[in-house]
Symmetry: C2
Subunit: 143 residues, 2 copies
Amino acid sequence: MSYSIKDVADMMGVTTSTLRYYDKEGLLPDVERKNGIRVFEDKDFKWSRVLNCLKNTNMPIKKIKEYVDLAQKGDSTLNERYQLIKEQKANILAQIEQLNYYLKEIEYKEWYYETAIERGTEKEVESVSSPKATLDIDQIPKK
Amino acid sequence: MSYSIKDVADMMGVTTSTLRYYDKEGLLPDVERKNGIRVFEDKDFKWSRVLNCLKNTNMPIKKIKEYVDLAQKGDSTLNERYQLIKEQKANILAQIEQLNYYLKEIEYKEWYYETAIERGTEKEVESVSSPKATLDIDQIPKK
DNA sequence: CCTTGACTTAAAGTTTACTTTAACTTATAT
DNA sequence: ATATAAGTTAAAGTAAACTTTAAGTCAAGG
């Protein structure tokens, strides 16, 4: 099975230009060419899915490149790659935690506006007893 | 109670330069000055916490500015602000969902490397029965 | 054969979100 | 009083991640 650059771009939800940019940055090693045109094989397609995963969990391109370079070196870098993946997992978990924290703040705001709209004004909505008590300043996750 | 720019910057986990930049972009309306120096009152501090929430849930500065401008107009924009907040809530939920999806992919990779390290090589790890079956391509969330 | 659409490159341009610099003023501590 | 720390501005600089442009090549349909 083989895929065009458009196939892969569609799978990743990016443009073909973006994919070519990734290639130029070294994120797509060893993609074959036929008459100068990129032909993605199954291994490249799978690799693109890994890239997509790292990219969509906010790993910077430079860091992804490090991972690519490690993978290129073969079995001797298995441990380094394992550490990198575990780091990224911790990263994702932290992101989810942070989003859940701010979700609560937004839900308070949602209630705030519902109450304000009911009353026709924002004035004194803050002093109305809210279903979720105002969040504690000390709990703001530090970046 | 009043706060210095540093106090607010520390609360938000940004530098004072960043806060001045936000101010210049109009995200901090009506902060008073004493001898040219910004003095944040309780209302400004609270507002900064809202900014921080929107910023850390990946709302672009331009969109935050729209929200600021609506808030400046008073009660007549309550509904618009409510819609914007609901939009952002949906946004956060989508982000969490996406992160949870990719977390599973990363956990597969984690298992993959644990197995490869045990065996000393990556070769044929893919064909080993994994605890979490390989994820289906069709399930990749589109951006 | 010819057009249309997809592919190619290198290089320049864009956007977002800061960050740094320089020159200066104000506040705090000894 | 004086040094140091923290505040101020406008403007230029930076970094990341694309995006666009220009000029071309290649493959398929009518």
